[in-house]
Assembly symmetry: C2
Homo-oligomer: 595 residues x 2
Amino acid sequence: MYRAPVDEIAFTLKHVAGLQEALDAEQLGDLSGDLVDAILTEAGRFASEEIAPLSGEGEKGTPLADAVVTTPAGWAGLYRNWIAGGWNSLTGAPDYGGQGLPTMLSVAANEMWNASCMAFSLCSLLTMGAVEAIEAHADEALKDMYLAKLISGEWTGTMNLTEPHAGSDLGVLKTRAERAGDGSYRIFGQKIYITYGEHDFSDNIVHLVLARLPDAPPGTRGISLFLVPKFIPDEDGNPGVRNDLFCHSVEHKLGIHGSPTCTMIYGDGRFGDTPGAVGWLVGEENRGLACMFTMMNNARLNVGIQGVAVADAAYQKALDYANERTQGKAPGWQGKGMSPIIEHPDIQRSLVTMKSLTQASRAISYCCAHAIDMANSAQQRGAEEETVFWRERANLLTPIAKAFSTDIGVEAASMGVQIHGGMGFIEETGAARLLRDARIAPIYEGTNGIQAIDLVTRKLPQSGGEHVKGYIAELKEVAAEVSGKNNPDFGMTADRLDAALEDLEAATNWLLQALQDGRVKAALAGATPYLRLFGLASGTVYLAKGALVETVEGNAARIALCRFCAENLLAETSALKEAVTEGAYSLEQARSALG
Amino acid sequence: MYRAPVDEIAFTLKHVAGLQEALDAEQLGDLSGDLVDAILTEAGRFASEEIAPLSGEGEKGTPLADAVVTTPAGWAGLYRNWIAGGWNSLTGAPDYGGQGLPTMLSVAANEMWNASCMAFSLCSLLTMGAVEAIEAHADEALKDMYLAKLISGEWTGTMNLTEPHAGSDLGVLKTRAERAGDGSYRIFGQKIYITYGEHDFSDNIVHLVLARLPDAPPGTRGISLFLVPKFIPDEDGNPGVRNDLFCHSVEHKLGIHGSPTCTMIYGDGRFGDTPGAVGWLVGEENRGLACMFTMMNNARLNVGIQGVAVADAAYQKALDYANERTQGKAPGWQGKGMSPIIEHPDIQRSLVTMKSLTQASRAISYCCAHAIDMANSAQQRGAEEETVFWRERANLLTPIAKAFSTDIGVEAASMGVQIHGGMGFIEETGAARLLRDARIAPIYEGTNGIQAIDLVTRKLPQSGGEHVKGYIAELKEVAAEVSGKNNPDFGMTADRLDAALEDLEAATNWLLQALQDGRVKAALAGATPYLRLFGLASGTVYLAKGALVETVEGNAARIALCRFCAENLLAETSALKEAVTEGAYSLEQARSALG
């Protein structure tokens, strides 16, 4: 059973991501280190003791009958307990009942929710995205009507983007919106892959829906965002008339079986007198995509966190099994009978790989959250340059946090299955479920290929390439610090970090030059290996940053983990760099071999 | 839908694995190239047209009621058609109705069966293993009673090794056998993970069961192998009295849902007057493990083939989807509207990676089959030295064929899911099923970790290390040939092959030295990265070997694929070599970080 690694999470937040420094500089309001510890401890308890025991129930699925979805046994009550604990409102605006806590804390808590049960925790990720979009773009009337209930979690939110023909490319979506004349709109269309589009956790569901107005320009510049509630609130703000929308079907998926993935139908006349789902505009007409990006950035980081979470859950499960299961005699085994399989070096290699990559992706994701918090703090203080800097940092790290972490999630879950041997393939064990659950994260909220393209074509060119160069320079300082320590326990860590950062620098410069020269295709050809290179290099540097903190318990183990990663996994950056800088031509040629 | 790549399979057999040379030298009896083509073409037709359309039925599972397992709709008839076509008897001994064809052909056909439906095809893999064990070790009476029916496929076979506490370590198994006094034995015990332990394909099921005699020495030297039929044949050789064994339960698995994985109970008295399943000894008492290894080597190569097969099926499905699905505009796209996603360089990279690694693992597996055939041919001719050489070659390549190919199977299936985007996570699409099916292959027939240990500790030391060194020298000749061509289309292929083979050589020498020095733990620490390094290097050399054949159609595409692999994927060998030669110490240290 999952045990929330509260100490490791707190350490990473404070000493790797920069929370301690921000606390010391009073950049996070009156938040104290003690409060951080208290929140993390209680979140860990709730995740381990309340959520994890119910996670297996999700496998029974979410049956749909007459447009009503029934969630797994115990989950609706669990959700109510969870919101009663205030967990949905961590980062919400205090004006609407939120606790105004930093993103770093919400991300850390999300890791624990998702590690204990990804399918259950997905619901609130969407609500949090909706809250951000409404906070940033909706008018006061909509905010007053919806924000408090969404922030508390009394109502939940969804994101309605995808249509059968419009996935990564939203410019071609067809759902249409008509002006009703009273300031509201009527929505007509079909949306697919709507996570928690229908469920029994809450009294109302607030759908954020992308649609096109009749006179909208074609493509992405003609998309508007609408708020479309399942029940239209009455004058007192309570759920009133049923809106003309419903869940038509629930997908049969590889994983996250407890999370209903719905096809939603808007405006076909099933409910109400005249067809058309009543909606209200969020932001300006035809500017819906920009509003939706507010949700998507938040969601992307939190999907990255799902990767970290599943990787950690898989690691814990595999570690438990490796300690219990005996088989064969490992070299040097002095005990009686067979040795626990953890004594076999090959099993150790898998476990240490899982642990170090989990910690690396956790650090990247928390650093991304830190950048978001620093940007918000700087903005509140009116520090413009600082705001730009931290926004660019968050922008840079978001695709890495999303794609690298979710790839690690799948890899770790697969290694976890392998460590279980035949038991890993049997569903009762639970290791296979983690792999099935993990597999969605590289796909949704922008496939990892889209993340890599975003990294290369939008994030590298920020500030003319200066931002990413400055970031690499920061990483090099950490490497230099390791080198300066002259601590033999670090082994060849410093040299390996130097080599990896040179690879990162070379690949970055090559891509920036290619973009400048208009060789976009060549740059895109290397986007995925580049993102992997970026994640491996920065993640290992963050392991080193943590290992340099000698004052906190567990330092020897952190040095050992960092060294393993540097000496066993990091050298891959050289191959990845070559794929970026020299692979594009042969890729183009090999197109002919695809048959 | 899967289309058997008959031309590519025939090319690989003939020009990469060495079939053409063997035919020319008349080392394979009166087999002709035309007959090879005819067999492969007909196998391809059967796989694509008969098996593939029924593969989806397997998802409904194999319900068990009152010890009877019902296989998916249409499968029992499909099986009967398949054996009627003679497909089960390809390699069987002609004295018992087999066709005596080389392993190369059977392996190629197995690829097609497994690509069209792995769960269905698994049944015959086990039967083939049983045939080999009985041919090699059973006495004449048992052969006369069972071989013809197993070779035709009228009866099927199983392997009963695993018990709950005895998986990779068979020395601790508890199933017991008692001498009945009439030359037969009575078997008592429970076996798990018995593939097709019970089903309705055939009139009888012949179980090969490992068990321990009362006076057996402890450990692996006290294990005997028994033949235990479901129905004891009567005097005419027809299924007679029901034996005291039955299927107690069927596992709920991650994948291969159409293949019943059974827990078998022997000798609890459910059938027959006195408890005890009647069995006959195969080989000598207490020498059962050696007999079982005959089955396991065959099975390991064929499980490797399952990796190749699933990888190819995943590639074909992803290629079809990438050609059909339109989304966004790829750089340079001149067509109307959105481009097919295959136009996006990132998708191309995934597809070319899948294709090149599939072809690399296919070549390794076919070369392993070639070595088996060459050994058999040399043995028949009484050429002792040659026999030893080819046995050692087959021994060397078996763990690579098994582990590298099955890892590629999982990786390719996962990339296939990713290329499908959201559709990949929906079960109806079928991409997710390939991933679920693929995931068993790195586990069964000896986990890939066990394969890596086998490679390092048993295969490298063959002939004092000279065999593997000679093999690497052969690979270097191919690299030299590429270099000698001076064909600019090969790009940097020759240099990359040289570098990879130097890595392979360095890692091999390091491991041999470590074993010689008694540093077994350090050698084992690098076993898995070493196996991967071996597979990448040899697989890419085989791509080059194929690309050097200029006289066969498709040469330009083969050069392009080889070059892509060399310039984009092969450089990983450097990192893997470092993990082998320098990673062991830091791995040992990092044990402390496992918590």
